[in-house]
């Protein structure tokens, strides 16, 4: 198979760029903990209310400026909603859905995860800047999808 010299150079360059891209992605995920939310625990989607920890949704301080939020998502709300944390807090969200597929997104941060019925999803986010953060469902879930939001107030 005959190839032009320019094409060989171009393909070598393309290949290297792809490899570098893959290496950086892999390095950041493994070494710097920048992995996408991928928790693999599961739960009976029809018994969320009776299963720990989702029998008691809420916010709990687990360390200095460190919180754990156990949250259920259901059409068309977040439970608990409107939480408050001090600036500089790290919040660990433990999430599941009680009905259909939802999306958990905190706008203006990188927190973004699919929340599937039957699976327990985990997301961690640090809040440095005070203000009102918009939390919304970013996966279509029904007629009231556009109203499914809450806030996190950072003081």
């Amino acid at each position: 198979m005959k190839m032009h010299k320019d094409e060989k150079i171009w393909l070598a360059l393309s290949f290297s760029i792809m490899m570098i891209f893959m290496l950086i992605t892999g390095y950041q995920a493994v070494a710097e903990g920048m992995e996408p939310p991928s928790n693999t625990d599961y739960i009976d989607p029809q018994k969320v209310d009776q299963t720990a920890p989702f029998d008691k949704p809420g916010i709990k301080q687990i360390g200095d400026k460190e919180y754990e939020v156990v949250m259920t998502m259901q059409v068309f709300s977040f439970n608990p909603g409107n939480i408050e944390v001090p600036a500089g807090s790290t919040v660990h969200f433990i999430l599941t859905s009680k009905d259909v597929v939802h999306g958990f997104e905190i706008a203006e941060t990188n927190a973004n995860a699919m929340v599937m019925p039957g699976y327990i999803q985990k997301v961690t986010q640090k809040f440095d800047k005070p203000g009102s953060y918009l939390v919304l469902c970013n996966e279509y879930c029904g007629a009231g999808h556009q109203m499914m939001s809450t806030t996190i107030t950072v003081k």
Partner: protein
């Protein structure tokens, strides 16, 4: 031997007499339906854009999510498939000396199956019984008729693939040892990819039907979702491969040049067929239930698809530059002045290609773990597929229509329609820059996709997105003008333009080209390699979901 001579003779006769009347009828019908669907789908898109900007309140009997579901089904499933097969069968007929009578029968049966399917899908959506989007993620539960319609539609697509296989196999039997001509080779790649991509989604839909009727109580949501994306992403790449066929085969002829290396062209097709189905997994990068190593492997497999596209990028610009220089073009980039910018057939194809540079780059970005987390399910994604499907694919299809429609209708492209086409192409491009540009930007800020007009209780963050939504609405308005002009041009070329002969523009290879090795014809091997790649990608996660997953979910109608 005799049949082979016969075949060549037929091809020659065919080339002399122009298009085969019966085959033309097939392509005409497919293309007509395709553009009618584009018109309806376009208006549905406009309604969404205006609603999203807060300019249009939709009536309760036809709400945002119904319109969105229909827009997705129409544009992604119907417009594209009808166009693709209208185009592919015109090419197969032209290149292989007319369709076999039995293939014609198959393609007409396929047409009926697809129309029945489309009607069955649309009825429940209109009744507000199937506002589940084109992705229909369970446990959202639509009316059974919706899923049954999808089965009909899939059967129609399969029949079209099978018709293509039979046609090409017959040619190969009569032309032993020869390479399948390039357009038909593209068609074969497209048919193989579609044939296999439909299998996972068909399995999904067949499990959803008894569940939606009530015979089974629960459904495995992760398995369904994974099976869907094995199809869903491959689908868009099938349209991309269709557009690519026009770049490689048609574009060089339109500018008076020769095709790029025949071997490399075929290698690109094989690579795209082998690697594509696994690409769907990157839609699930932020899903639960999939371990990080599996996700990492999928990121690599998805990124690998970028490679054949980078080969294409080189090939296309090399052909342009070479041709333009032969015609007296000078300078490092001065040669571009020699390109036929006033010819809509070329202009639309060129913008289609050029747009794939940012579109492909965006795709590579959102395929990686970290960057996908930033933009997943935001308007960025909507911007991305309006750039890939709305520009790269749609403009390629539009560009093709300016010679294909006259060709099958026994008419010609008049200077007036050509001029209209050039205007249409620019309106479309500018409209998409507005729309896709604002979608990408506002998506980076977090505005979610698939969400009707909302300010989330006047939250400051949501309000800051509004100006971009205005730009989106402006883009949408330009696009509907584009749609109307395009459909007008197609109708004109199909029924009213002056009669005459139009050529099916397939470019030749260069005179001194080295011969193509015969291994490119061994589709059996490539299909096995493809299945191995698919197995590598899907066996682990799917068995994990089934053997080590949660109890299933009951259905919900939440709309």
């Amino acid at each position: 031997m005799e049949t082979a001579i016969n075949q060549t003779f037929n091809t020659k006769v065919n080339n002399l007499l122009g298009v085969n009347k019966e085959d033309a009828k097939i392509s005409k019908t497919y293309l007509f339906v395709s553009f009618v669907i584009l018109l309806i789908g376009g208006f549905l898109g406009l309604a969404q854009g205006l609603n999203r900007a807060g300019l249009l309140e939709l009536p309760s009997w036809l709400n945002y999510y119904q319109i969105l579901t229909m827009h997705g089904v129409f544009m992604l499933l119907a417009f594209t498939t009808f166009f693709t097969f209208g185009y592919l069968y015109a090419g197969l007929s032209h290149e292989l000396g007319g369709l076999l009578p039995k293939v014609r029968k198959i393609v007409w049966t396929a047409f009926a199956a697809k129309i029945i399917g489309a009607v069955l899908v649309v009825i429940p959506i209109l009744m507000n019984e199937a506002s589940v989007m084109y992705t229909f993620y369970p446990p959202l539960k639509a009316h059974p008729m919706f899923y049954i319609g999808l089965v009909f539609f899939a059967v129609g697509m399969w029949l079209c693939n099978i018709g293509g296989f039979i046609q090409v196999a017959n040619w190969r039997k009569n032309n032993k040892g020869k390479h399948v001509p390039i357009f038909s080779y593209f068609a074969t790649g497209i048919n193989i990819l579609m044939f296999f991509a439909l299998i996972p989604v068909a399995i999904e839909v067949l499990t959803l039907i008894p569940w939606s009727i009530g015979w089974t109580k629960t459904v495995n949501v992760m398995v369904s979702r994974t099976l869907f994306w094995a199809f869903g992403h491959t689908l868009v790449n099938i349209w991309y491969l269709t557009a690519t066929s026009a770049w490689y085969v048609i574009a060089p002829k339109l500018i008076g040049g020769k095709r790029w290396s025949d071997t490399l062209t075929r290698v690109v097709i094989i690579a795209l067929v082998i690697m594509n189905i696994t690409g769907g997994f990157h839609h699930q990068i932020i899903d639960p239930g999939i371990s990080l190593p599996v996700k990492m492997m999928h990121v690599f497999m998805s990124l690998a698809i970028g490679f054949p596209s980078l080969m294409t990028a080189f090939a296309m610009f090399a052909v342009f530059e070479k041709t333009a220089r032969k015609q007296g073009g000078k300078g490092l980039i001065g040669w571009y002045k020699k390109m036929p910018w006033g010819d809509v057939r070329f202009l639309a194809l060129f913008i289609s290609m050029a747009s794939f540079i940012p579109a492909g780059a965006g795709g590579i970005a959102q395929t990686t773990n970290q960057l996908d987390t930033v933009v997943h399910n935001t308007m960025w994604i909507v911007g991305h597929f309006h750039l890939t499907l709305g520009v790269t694919v749609a403009l390629a299809f539009f560009g093709i229509s300016y010679w294909l429609v006259p060709y099958i209708s026994g008419r010609v492209l008049t200077p007036k329609i050509n001029k209209l086409g050039v205007i249409q192409t620019w309106i479309w491009t500018i409209g998409m820059i507005f729309m896709s540009g604002s979608m990408h930007t506002v998506g980076l800020f977090g505005s979610p996709r698939r969400t009707s007009y909302t300010t989330y209780g006047d939250h400051a963050t949501a309000l800051s997105w509004d100006p971009y939504m205005m730009a989106l609405a402006i883009g949408g308005t330009l696009l509907i003008i584009g749609v109307i002009l395009q459909v007008y041009a197609v109708i004109n070329m199909m029924f009213f333009a002056p009669k005459g002969e139009t050529e099916f523009p397939i470019a030749d290879v260069e005179e001194n080209a080295s011969p193509t090795p015969y291994w490119t014809e061994r589709w059996g091997i490539w299909i096995i390699v493809m299945l191995i790649v698919v197995a590598m990608a899907y066996v682990i996660p799917l068995s994990e979901f089934i053997l080590n997953g949660p109890p299933g979910s009951p259905g919900f109608k939440t709309w």
